[in-house]
């Protein structure tokens, strides 16, 4: 292992890690919003939208992100829809993540017995109040483990961004290997940088998971 090489590559890896983080977290933020909206549409069976969302979820849960990105980035411009690589990365991740988040969140919603809604309504709460104060807190806390798993999964998926030329960690490593053939150093740095990004998420995730268990009902 050549430390000088590692030092000289360090700024490039840092830049790449920042890009990975930026796109990763933006994509995840949008995927949570999207997943949330889709889950509510699905759960409350809002007409028409509920079908469209259903198709979207099945399409994006059953195809690889890599293929989705290729289609979005290289395919769509051919019919006049050109999007830049970073936007495409965020969009791809948000669409993929949205489909997963929607399913996790929906199973959270479904885990709540109908009797709770009925009780809340009979106590004189409005429909919105019921959803906001009774259903959502429980649904969110019971879908947290799945949420955390999704976040880790989505952050890992960012490694395919290299295919649409985003200079993320994966691409930087490949590019440097191609340029200077310092394979071992490049791979070792790749591993370490992914550890730096994903270890905290994994640890924080398990802490959050424990803290949010408070709403477990009837256990």
């Amino acid at each position: 292992m050549n430390w000088e090489v590692i030092q000289s590559y360090l700024p490039l890896y840092e830049k790449a890690a920042l890009l990975t983080l930026k796109i990763g977290w933006l994509g995840i933020a949008f995927s949570i919003i999207l997943g949330f909206v889709c889950a509510i549409i699905r759960h409350y069976k809002i007409p028409v939208l509920h079908r469209i969302v259903g198709i979207y979820i099945e399409l994006f849960r059953n195809t690889p992100l890599l293929i989705q990105l290729f289609f979005l980035y290289f395919g769509l411009p051919k019919i006049g829809i050109a999007i830049d690589a970073e936007f495409c990365g965020v969009l791809g991740l948000a669409l993929l993540g949205g489909a997963y988040m929607a399913e996790s969140f929906r199973s959270g919603l479904e885990s709540i017995e109908p009797i709770q809604t009925e009780s809340a309504l009979s106590l004189g709460m409005s429909r919105t109040q019921t959803i906001w104060h009774v259903i959502l807190p429980q649904a969110i806390s019971s879908s947290v483990p799945a949420f955390v798993a999704n976040i880790v999964f989505l952050l890992k998926e960012t490694s395919v961004f290299s295919a649409i030329s985003l200079m993320d960690l994966m691409f930087t490593a490949k590019d440097l290997i191609g340029l200077y053939s310092k394979t071992i150093e490049c791979l070792a740095m790749l591993v370490i940088f992914y550890l730096i990004i994903l270890l905290p998420v994994s640890i924080v995730g398990s802490i959050v998971e424990k803290k949010l268990r408070f709403a477990g009902f009837g256990e």
Binding site: P64, L66, G75, K78, T183, Y194
Partner: protein, 224 residues
């Protein structure tokens, strides 16, 4: 009128080539899935043992798999091992190794959680009825575990199939790479091929994965 670039698919044997490419990635995932199911059952059962050494090793193994992107693992196995140990592993074999490494971890974790989800009193009742350990497993524990496990395992299978699309990045000529080759060879005659070809690849993956995940959903509903 812009063409959608679907015409290239009917040139020569292009469609067959795409399907053959799809088969390359499917074959990798099928082999990896078979290995994962088999070893995953064994490792998952090991994890429920109270042995602290086994626990520690499997825990570390699970964490590595959970944290490292599969793409990184692919690169390490494909390029790294030759550099480090002098093993020359071909791209398809590297892919099988990586996907099995990942699949066994996920599978064994599923097996473990299904096993521990069976309440202790089930074991105890079985023993109280005079059943041996083997009998208890065969006729009490395994059938129940099976029902919890199968839908989850099928879910894992679709994830593995989807993830094999990454093997293109280490030079396996699979469906996406064939797609690129077709687009390149027809750049002049059919400039919009990128749309048609990538759309086709997208749909192909969907056709493979969707029925499998529908099946798993059905089982889950039926057995829960």
């Amino acid at each position: 009128m812009t063409s959608l670039g679907l015409d290239v698919l009917f040139k020569g044997i292009n469609m067959q080539r795409l399907l053959a490419g799809l088969w390359v990635s499917l074959r990798i995932s099928l082999i990896a899935i078979a290995i994962s199911i088999f070893l995953g059952l064994v490792v998952g059962w090991l994890m429920t043992r109270k042995n602290i050494v086994i626990k520690a090793i499997t825990r570390v193994y699970l964490e590595i798999v959970r944290i490292m992107p599969q793409m990184v693992l692919l690169f390490i196995v494909f390029f790294g091992t030759t550099r480090l140990f002098g093993w020359n592993i071909d791209a398809e074999v590297s892919s099988v190794i990586v996907f099995s490494f990942w699949g066994v971890a996920e599978m064994s974790d599923l097996v473990r959680s299904s096993l521990i989800s069976i309440p202790k009193h089930q074991y105890e009742s079985a023993y109280a009825l005079g059943m041996s350990e083997v009998q208890t497993y065969l006729s009490v524990i395994i059938p129940q575990t099976f029902r919890r496990l199968v839908p989850l395992a099928i879910n894992l299978i679709t994830r593995m199939i989807k993830t094999t699309s990454l093997v293109m990045m280490i030079g396996v000529v699979e469906v996406l790479k064939v797609g690129q080759q077709i687009i390149e060879a027809n750049r002049k005659s059919s400039p919009n091929a990128a749309f048609g070809v990538y759309l086709t690849v997208f749909i192909l993956y969907f056709i493979v994965c969707w029925p499998i995940s529908m099946f798993s959903k059905k089982l889950e509903k039926k057995w829960s």
